[in-house]
C-alpha cells in the first residue's frame, strides 16, 4: 500500500513541477512584454510587417 503512495507522490511531483515551470515562464513572458510595450509605446504582441 505504501508503494502506491510513493508512485502517486512521484507522478504528482513530476507534473506539478512541469506545470509550475510553464506557469513561471508565462508570468515572465507577460512581465517582459509589458515592459517592452511600455518602453516602445507599441501594444503587446505588436509585430513589424514583413
Amino acid at each position: 500500500m505504501h508503494d502506491v503512495g510513493y508512485v502517486a507522490a512521484g507522478y504528482t511531483i513530476t507534473f506539478a513541477a512541469l506545470a509550475g515551470y510553464r506557469w513561471h515562464l508565462a508570468v515572465r513572458m507577460r512581465r517582459a512584454r509589458r515592459y517592452v510595450s511600455t518602453v516602445t509605446g507599441r501594444p503587446p504582441g505588436w509585430r513589424r510587417r514583413a
Binding site: 510513493y6 512521484g10 507522478y11 513541477a17 513572458m29 517592452v36 516602445t40
Partner: protein, 253 residues
C-alpha cells in the same frame, strides 16, 4: 550551426509551439495512463517500479539538456553570437528542473526498494548547473556573462558522462543499465515500449519548454537593453533633402 539554429527558430514559431504544446500534453497524459494502469507491475518490486516511466525519461531529458548547453556554449565561444548564449541559458534552466526531478524521483523509488534515500553524483551535477545559473545573475555585462557562462557550460559537462557511467563503474545500490547496454535489453517488452513512449513524451516536453523559454529569453533581452541605446520607434532615416547642405554634400563626396 546556422542550420541548427534555423531549425530551432522554426520550432520556436508560434504555430509550431502551439502544436508542440498540444502534443506534449497528450503524450504526458498517455504516459500517465499507460504507466499507471496498463503495464503490469514488476514481479519483484511491485507497483513502485512504475516510477521508472518518469524517473528514467527525466534523466534522459536532463542529459539532453546539458548536452545542448555544451554545444551552444561551444558555438558561442566560436562565433560570439549572443543567440547561442540564449539557447544555452534556456537549456540549462530546463536541465536543472529535470535534474531536480531525477533526484526526487530516484529517492522516492530508492526508499521503498533499498531502504534509503538516493543521493549520488547527480546531486553534484545539479549543483554545477545551479552554479551556472547563479553565475549568469552576477555578471555585469551581457558579453562577459555569456563568455563566463559558456566556459562553465563546457567544463560542467565533464560530470555528465561520469553520472551516466557511474552505475557501471561503481557497484552501488543503483541497478545496472537495462536498456542502454551491450546486447539486448533485459526489461520486458511491454515495459520497454512504455519506457520508449515516455522518452518521446518527455523529449516533446523538453522541445516545447525550450521553445517557450527561448521566446521569453528574446523578450527579456529586448527589455534589458537600455532605452537610450535603442532607435526611437517610427524613426526614419533622414533623406538627403532634410540634411543641412554641408552634410549632404559631404555624404556625396
Amino acid at each position: 550551426m546556422r542550420h541548427l539554429y534555423r531549425a530551432l527558430s522554426v520550432l520556436g514559431g508560434y504555430r509550431a509551439q502551439r502544436v508542440m504544446g498540444v502534443a506534449t500534453l497528450a503524450g504526458l497524459a498517455a504516459t500517465v495512463v499507460i504507466g499507471l494502469f496498463v503495464v503490469p507491475p514488476d514481479a519483484t518490486q511491485g507497483n513502485v517500479q512504475r516510477l521508472m516511466y518518469v524517473h528514467v525519461p527525466a534523466a534522459w531529458v536532463m542529459f539532453m539538456a546539458f548536452g545542448v548547453v555544451f554545444i551552444a556554449s561551444a558555438a558561442y565561444l566560436k562565433t560570439g553570437r549572443i543567440r547561442w548564449d540564449r539557447v544555452a541559458a534556456a537549456s540549462a534552466e530546463i536541465g536543472v528542473l529535470f535534474c531536480a526531478l531525477t533526484i526526487v524521483l530516484g529517492s522516492l523509488w530508492g526508499r521503498p526498494v533499498w531502504g534509503t534515500w538516493w543521493l549520488t553524483t547527480t546531486a553534484v551535477l545539479l549543483l554545477i548547473y545551479v552554479g551556472y545559473l547563479s553565475l549568469r545573475k552576477v555578471a555585469d555585462s551581457p558579453a562577459r556573462r555569456a563568455k563566463w557562462a559558456a566556459v562553465v557550460g563546457i567544463v560542467g559537462f565533464i560530470d555528465v558522462p561520469i553520472v551516466h557511467q557511474s552505475v557501471v563503474w561503481w557497484r552501488s545500490l543503483h541497478q545496472q543499465a537495462t536498456v542502454l547496454r551491450l546486447g539486448a535489453p533485459t526489461v520486458a517488452g511491454s515495459m520497454l515500449a512504455t519506457l520508449l513512449f515516455a522518452f518521446v513524451a518527455f523529449s516533446l516536453a523538453y522541445g516545447y519548454l525550450m521553445a517557450v523559454r527561448m521566446r521569453v529569453g528574446r523578450l527579456e533581452d529586448r527589455s534589458a537593453v537600455p532605452v537610450s541605446s535603442r532607435p526611437a520607434p517610427r524613426a526614419r532615416r533622414p533623406r538627403p533633402a532634410d540634411l543641412p547642405t554641408s552634410v549632404a554634400s559631404d555624404s556625396h563626396a
